[in-house]
């Protein structure tokens, strides 16, 4: 990863950080329930927050880990504000099938399926499943980003996977697996 080096706030450049992490932050926000309509603002919010907090970044964590923590908080804020307004969390405006190219339509379907399943998980389990099982981040890094103990992260991961199985299978099948 480009920014995985010992960086202090003085040497951390927001543009380099964006180049290295924007796609992951974007994916994560979508998977954490930020709608298509809101994701660009949310991505910008994550990096602006990082930029404004650069002086407080002490270099104890990797910049990418520090950024993940910010992204998780931004996503939680977006979810809360979306729920207050009573708007559907993820999915954005529906695309008319006849107007969409096949590939775009498939992506839209995948996103909807992913959101439908992930939305059944409690937020704290969803965050861990997204970071560890979808983004493939190691437990210690996720613990650092979320401000949790590693054991807590693993515990939430187990619960999250069980909840996923339940969501995918229904209660009867998942109980036997």
């Amino acid at each position: 990863m480009l920014v995985r080096s010992a960086m202090s706030s003085e040497s951390l450049d927001i543009s380099r950080l964006y180049a290295a992490e924007a796609r992951r932050v974007w994916r994560m926000l979508r998977r954490l329930g930020v709608s298509e309509a809101a994701v660009e603002d949310a991505v910008q919010d994550v990096f602006l927050t990082a930029h404004q907090s650069l002086k407080r970044f002490e270099g104890r964590a990797q910049p990418s880990t520090w950024l993940l923590g910010i992204a998780v908080r931004v996503a939680a804020n977006v979810r809360r504000s979306t729920q207050r307004r009573g708007v559907l969390g993820v999915g954005g405006p529906a695309t008319e099938p006849e107007e969409a190219a096949d590939e775009a339509l498939q992506q839209q379907r995948d996103l909807r399926e992913l959101e439908q399943v992930l939305s059944r998980l409690p937020d704290e389990q969803r965050e861990v499943v997204v970071l560890m099982d979808l983004e493939q981040l190691p437990g210690p890094e996720v613990a650092e980003a979320l401000g949790l103990k590693v054991n807590t992260v693993y515990s939430r991961l187990r619960l999250g996977r069980a909840a996923l199985a339940l969501a995918l299978n229904g209660p009867e099948r998942s109980a036997h697996e």
Partner: protein
């Protein structure tokens, strides 16, 4: 710390997660769009470190660049569009290039903006807004790089703009820049770091 993650869950979960590992990827255009917006918010104000009378010329250029923002990027009635009008079917394309170049310029990507405005001028040499923006971008590049070539280009394009749009509201100011450049005499030497 070691990563002793729990064993993977049931097959249905593993399949689901594997299938969705890349779901939600943004497009390059979307990533770039947000990057430009971000840079526009965080870009520090850059001080030109130019000596002597070049400071005066640079200051005038900066005023013109600021005025462009106040007047609108694509130009309303009576603005730089007073130049030679391109055929209707090309206007949308040219306006799109002006917006694209202006976004890049505002984000501090002056080299990218230069490329866009040069393309615009290549498509329609008589389209005054592109000529003016190209002149402004060269002025910024000149300030950044202390580049003689860039400052020459800037004044050449400002001169061309005044020729294309002599009745535009900002034409007198651009003419003043051109006159300042002519009076400067040995500006070329002054620009050498």
């Amino acid at each position: 710390m070691s990563d002793e993650r729990p064993p993977e869950g049931p097959e249905v979960v593993r399949d689901f997660l594997a299938r969705h590992r890349h779901t939600g990827e943004p497009t390059d255009a979307a990533v770039e769009r947000v990057h430009r917006r971000l840079l526009a918010r965080v870009q520090p104000t850059r001080r030109w470190s130019l000596p002597g009378e070049v400071w005066a010329a640079a200051a005038v250029l900066a005023v013109v660049v600021a005025l462009q923002g106040l007047m609108g990027l694509v130009g309303g009635p009576g603005s730089a569009d007073a130049g030679v009008a391109p055929p209707d079917e090309r206007v949308a394309r040219l306006e799109g290039l002006v917006r694209q170049g202006s976004d890049l310029s505002q984000a501090g990507n002056w080299d990218g903006a230069r490329t866009v405005f040069e393309e615009c001028v290549r498509l329609e040499p008589g389209y005054a807004p592109c000529v003016k923006h190209l002149a402004s971008v060269f002025a910024k590049i000149a300030g950044r790089d202390s580049s003689q070539v860039a400052i020459d280009q800037s004044f050449t394009w400002f001169k061309r703009y005044v020729e294309l749009a002599p009745s535009a509201p900002d034409a007198p100011q651009c003419q003043k820049i051109v006159d300042t450049w002519k009076e400067c005499g040995n500006c070329a030497e002054t620009f050498v770091p």
